[in-house]
């Protein structure tokens, strides 16, 4: 079978692609917004899920975030990448909806009730699931400034520079927030595992 000739476009800058999407949206191309959802829907959903620890809440937050993106997309001018811009909208919305009046609670009592009985036989999958729930709950219970930094670093895999752009803070602040977030999580998890 004869191979089809193709044109090379890998060198096109990411920013150019972003701005093209926005231009098409401005011209009324509805598929442009669908592409944006396809590219960033998972990213926003997972961010909202880890900050809320509630999949239904995360779905609502994602829907509302994309409505905001739709309203303001015409104002995007390429000062940052579209990804950074969308992260900012998502985080601002999560902050305002989730209400950052939580008091830091190590969840010690609830965690102790869930610890598996060591006299039982090994149940690795159940243990792993329990561990994941503890970590997820502890993460969502962190003060928002720490939770956001930890989620962006350890779950979204962003480098410190990009996290600084998303959060609108200096790199030193990012470093400090990530460290303090991890430190608090460590205390919670070590206490749940029996105070190692």
């Amino acid at each position: 079978m004869r191979e089809m000739k193709a044109i090379t476009m890998d060198a096109m800058p990411v920013g150019a692609r972003d701005l093209d999407l926005v231009e098409r949206h401005r011209y009324g191309d509805e598929t442009a917004f669908e592409e944006i959802y396809d590219r960033f829907g998972g990213m926003v959903y997972n961010l909202a899920w880890r900050l809320s620890n509630d999949p239904e809440e995360a779905a609502d937050l994602t829907q509302e975030t994309f409505l905001r993106i739709h309203r303001h997309l015409g104002k995007f001018r390429g000062g940052s990448t579209l990804k950074t811009w969308i992260y900012r909208i998502a985080l601002n919305h999560c902050r305002s909806r989730l209400g950052r009046k939580r008091v830091w609670q190590p969840l010690a009592e609830e965690t102790e009730r869930r610890l598996p009985d060591p006299r039982r036989g090994p149940e690795e999958r159940a243990l792993a699931h329990d561990a994941e729930r503890r970590v997820a709950a502890a993460l969502a219970a962190l003060p928002s400034r720490y939770a956001e930094a930890v989620v962006l670093c350890d779950l979204e895999g962003l480098p410190y520079q990009e996290i600084a752009e998303v959060l609108g803070v200096r790199i030193g602040t990012v470093r400090s927030r990530i460290a303090r977030g991890r430190e608090r999580l460590r205390r919670v998890l070590e206490k749940a595992e029996g105070g190692r």
């Binding site: 000739k5 800058p13 093209d20 231009e23 098409r24 829907g41 998972g42 959903y45 970590v135 400090s176």
Partner: protein, 220 residues
């Protein structure tokens, strides 16, 4: 580094976010400090727990929900506010008033006459012959060569030979957008096709089907 390393420094070291000279100093310190090595191992465990947290695709119904709400908002912003303004203005008149009825009829007739005369002007403009474009790539009947590819003109769209009209387009670029301009700088002969046919569809070397769309008049 005689004192213990701070958690922030160890955390940044773990993420490979320290400048090289600072990272080397941390490594030298770790070699002689069991306390800091233990701290680093503990941080590594926490990060390991976090990175094992599941990532999930959004629920499939969410795309539909977003699309529906966006469509509602588009409708509301496009027509709702105008309707509300008209409703408020009409409410000031007594709708069964003969004066209002006469005014409405006159306004409707005037609008129809205006639109009719405007459409006549459009038809007149369309009778003006289009200037012949500068010579471009050789046109082989309904086919043309550009960017090293062969295209076929079907219903005002230049399709790369071998692509079916039923195929789904993965990405679209406007000629006046950054992506479109980038493409045309590298393949100017594509621009000549766009002057004639408005849309070019081709496959890139990543396997994606890409459309390039001309925006505005061909004389611009």
């Amino acid at each position: 580094m005689s004192a213990h390393a701070t958690t922030a420094r160890l955390s940044a070291y773990l993420d490979r976010e320290l400048p090289a000279p600072e990272a080397r100093r941390v490594e030298e310190h770790l070699a002689d400090c069991p306390h800091c090595r233990s701290e680093l191992e503990s941080l590594t465990r926490v990060v390991g727990h976090l990175r094992r947290l599941e990532r999930s695709a959004p629920p499939p119904v969410l795309a539909g929900r977003v699309a529906r709400h966006v469509a509602i908002e588009r409708e509301r912003r496009g027509h709702g506010s105008l309707v509300q303004r008209l409703e408020r203005r009409l409410a000031r008149f007594e709708l069964d008033s003969p004066v209002f009825t006469t005014f409405a009829v006159v306004l409707a007739l005037a609008s129809i006459l205006y639109l009719f005369s405007a459409s006549l002007q459009v038809i007149e403009h369309r009778r003006i012959p289009v200037r012949v474009a500068a010579p471009g790539p050789p046109v082989l009947g309904p086919r043309a060569e550009a960017a090293g590819l062969t295209f076929e003109l079907r219903r005002d769209v230049w399709w790369q030979l071998g692509l079916s009209e039923a195929i789904e387009v993965d990405e679209t670029y406007l000629t006046n957008g950054p992506g479109g301009r980038w493409l045309l700088e590298r393949h100017p002969d594509l621009g000549t096709l766009l002057g004639r046919g408005q849309v070019v569809v081709l496959r890139d070397d990543g396997g994606r089907v890409v459309a390039i769309m001309s925006v505005g008049s061909s004389s611009s």
